[in-house]
């Protein structure tokens, strides 16, 4: 099934190839003929609703120019929107920085903690900044906060569940396995509803847990079950001889896990873990169903209540989709790069 070397051979080398090429090119021409006038040639770029309404045959990118702040920041108070912007950039920079395997050292954990605290203070208020309740957080910074916090909290739990599922103790093994299978068996939406309805029942009578807290608890409990299975795969792939050898050298049970098994296991499943992070990032969009206005929710918030701009939902959807796509595609490419990098650096 090897393709011929040159483009000309590839496209026109045989009657079948030529026929395929013609079909695809015709399809492309048809799509371009419909899309190009709408998306570019007839499109309105200025934030002017009247012009948009007059040119219905073209896209109205003006809706993005007009609404980019509510789209990106949700309900966050207008004049304080620099705070989520800085917090979001900080978290993104930190994530990008951590993407480089060279910086995977012990000090990364406290640094992350510090960055998370700073981001929390910036968005929530404190240190002289006025308080903004979490119910008003929204948009892209909230999406990033949910993804980062969700995964960060889920990781230790997932690790514990994975180790527990391989434990010698039948009670621990059964408990961990049941948790993982139960959570993986139900949709995320039902877990989010569960967190919304059940967490308040565990709070003192009359008090309500914060909505962001509820969502993050639900999200990380859900992600943890999936991470646990990925980590378990890595644990299983560490050769048993490594454990025996370490025991023979006098390592304790936990010493073997900490110094021999886990470092190898986690390194092996890093690509699968980044895939899970990718899934978590996309899954954050579901929190809009339980009343948080992250990127997807901010969209209906920005356009739903505004009859002037409401007809131009499609353009706003495409803008949001582009943001998600850039984030997710970047993460997917990174995952591929990391796989290759780790294979080169740590070839066994």
């Amino acid at each position: 099934m090897r393709a011929p070397r040159t483009w000309a051979q590839d496209l026109w080398g045989s009657p079948w190839r030529a026929a395929f090429s013609l079909v695809v090119l015709a399809l492309a021409a048809w799509a371009l003929a419909h899309l190009l006038p709408w998306a570019v040639l007839q499109a309105t770029w200025a934030p002017d609703a009247a012009t948009c309404r007059a040119h219905r045959e073209g896209a109205c990118w003006g809706v993005v120019a007009e609404k980019w702040r509510p789209l990106l920041f949700g309900r966050y108070p207008f004049e304080a929107q620099w705070r989520p912007a800085v917090a979001g950039l900080l978290l993104m920079a930190m994530t990008l920085g951590s993407a480089w395997p060279r910086v995977w050292r012990w000090w990364l954990a406290p640094l992350w903690l510090a960055v998370l605290l700073t981001a929390g203070l910036l968005m929530g208020g404190g240190l002289g900044l006025p308080h903004v309740p979490t119910g008003q957080w929204g948009g892209l910074p909230l999406t990033i906060v949910l993804a980062v916090l969700g995964v960060a909290l889920a990781f230790p739990l997932g690790l514990a569940l994975a180790l527990g599922r391989r434990s010698d103790w039948p009670v621990v093994r059964t408990l961990c396995a049941s948790y993982i299978e139960l959570v993986r068996g139900v949709p995320l939406i039902s877990v989010l509803f569960m967190a919304t309805f059940l967490l308040p029942l565990l709070w003192p009578v009359g008090a309500q847990p914060d909505v962001l807290l509820r969502v993050i608890v639900g999200l990380s409990l859900f992600i943890a079950a999936y991470l646990a299975e990925v980590i378990r795969g890595g644990l299983q792939a560490v050769p048993g001889g490594q454990v025996d050898a370490a025991r023979a050298l006098g390592f304790t049970r936990w010493g073997v896990q900490r110094h021999i098994v886990l470092p190898q296991a986690l390194r092996m499943v890093v690509p699968a873990l980044t895939n899970n992070v990718l899934g978590a990032l996309k899954d954050t969009s579901l929190v809009t169903v339980v009343g948080l206005f992250e990127l997807t929710g901010a969209l209906s918030l920005a356009l739903g209540g505004d009859p002037v701009w409401r007809p131009f939902y499609l353009e706003a959807y495409l803008f949001i989709a582009l943001i998600y796509w850039v984030l997710c595609f970047g993460l997917a490419r990174y995952s591929l790069w990391l796989e290759g990098y780790l294979r080169r650096e740590h070839a066994i």
Binding site: M1, L202, V205, V243, L314, Y324
Partner: protein
């Protein structure tokens, strides 16, 4: 983690016995702590519920539901009890997941094979679709499809004529469907009229949106599974098939796909499971599947525990059914003598 048995000259008898006794005690303590925690949580939750005036138990299932469910099978009306509402919810989940799964598998196989076709335009087009769809959240795609149906399609009075007997408009999709008349069964063809399309099977816009979005999204994932499965077949098999004089189509059908299936089926099972669970996103466009019914019920009765238990039980049963079905199929395609 097997350890070599110690030499008989120096047996460590006491240590193993002690550590297993410690393990036993610790596990008992763990169970007790967990039971205590759960007991406390349940008691506290019951107190909170009592303070709010909510009773607990599954007795509400017999009460008249009063929640609106716009469509579904078995048919439902608000004066019917809650268990009927849940049954319709389950029916709606299955009704959305099964057609979506069929379209996703067919489209996914085409895209996955298309990505491996030695023709740059075809493989590029398939790859482009996969990369485009996989990296945007399903919820966003669902909302986009729902918006496109509600705002961009023509009114039901002047529907699009897609195929003979198939009409598409803001009001949904109509297609021919068997109906029972006085002279027995016949196929009823939908007809556009002054007040929209009548006759045949009328599918609501919410239903069309969730099935379309689920199918298009899952197809991209199925395509990657199919591609990986085909690439896992050693190249020698292709060459051997060619050496035997098989045509390219026969190569694929008789030699490669049967072997690729062994890699594809387990991953495909996972994908079908997540497709079923993803159908719960329909709650966002107002299609009344199981989670949506449970959510409305909690809003009306406050019985959160009970409704969530029902949702969990149903999804568990659905997952087990899908897994059993796919495992049966998997046993048929697996290599004999291998598990």
């Amino acid at each position: 983690m097997t350890h070599p048995s110690p030499p008989p000259a120096a047996p460590p008898p006491a240590r193993g016995a002690t550590s297993s006794r410690i393990a036993l005690v610790l596990q008992v303590v763990l169970i007790l702590a967990l039971v205590g925690l759960v007991w406390w949580a349940v008691q506290h939750a019951l107190d909170v519920l009592r303070a709010r005036g909510v009773r607990s138990g599954f007795d509400f299932l017999g009460d008249a539901a009063g929640i609106p469910i716009s469509e579904g099978w078995p048919s439902y009306s608000p004066e019917q009890p809650f268990w009927r509402a849940f049954l319709t919810g389950v029916g709606n989940t299955v009704r959305a997941a099964v057609p979506a799964a069929i379209v996703a598998v067919v489209l996914g196989v085409l895209l996955g094979v298309g990505r491996l076709v030695p023709h740059r335009l075809v493989s590029g087009l398939c790859g482009g679709y996969i990369h485009l769809v996989r990296n945007v959240p399903l919820l966003l795609q669902l909302l986009m499809v729902a918006f496109a149906i509600g705002a961009l399609l023509p009114d039901p009075t002047e529907p699009l004529h897609l195929l003979p007997g198939v009409w598409l408009s803001k009001a949904g999709l109509s297609m021919p469907w068997p109906a029972q008349g006085e002279a027995g069964w016949f196929v009823e063809w939908p007809e556009p009229g002054t007040f929209g399309v009548t006759g045949g099977a009328a599918l609501s816009p919410e239903y069309v949106a969730i099935v379309t979005a689920l199918a298009l999204y899952s197809a991209a994932f199925v395509a990657e599974i199919v591609r990986a499965g085909i690439q896992a077949v050693p190249e020698g098999q292709w060459l051997a098939a060619r050496a035997l004089g098989l045509q390219p189509g026969q190569e694929m059908r008789l030699v490669v796909l049967p072997q690729a299936q062994r890699v594809i089926v387990p991953a495909l099972t996972n994908q079908l499971l997540s497709l079923t669970k993803n159908s719960s996103l329909a709650v966002a466009v107002g299609y009344p599947e199981l989670v949506s019914v449970a959510n409305m019920t909690i809003g009306n009765t406050g019985r959160a525990f009970e409704c969530i238990a029902i949702v969990m039980a149903v999804y568990l049963a659905l997952s087990l059914a899908i897994a059993a079905l796919m495992n049966t199929y998997n046993r048929r395609v697996a290599l004999r003598g291998w598990s």
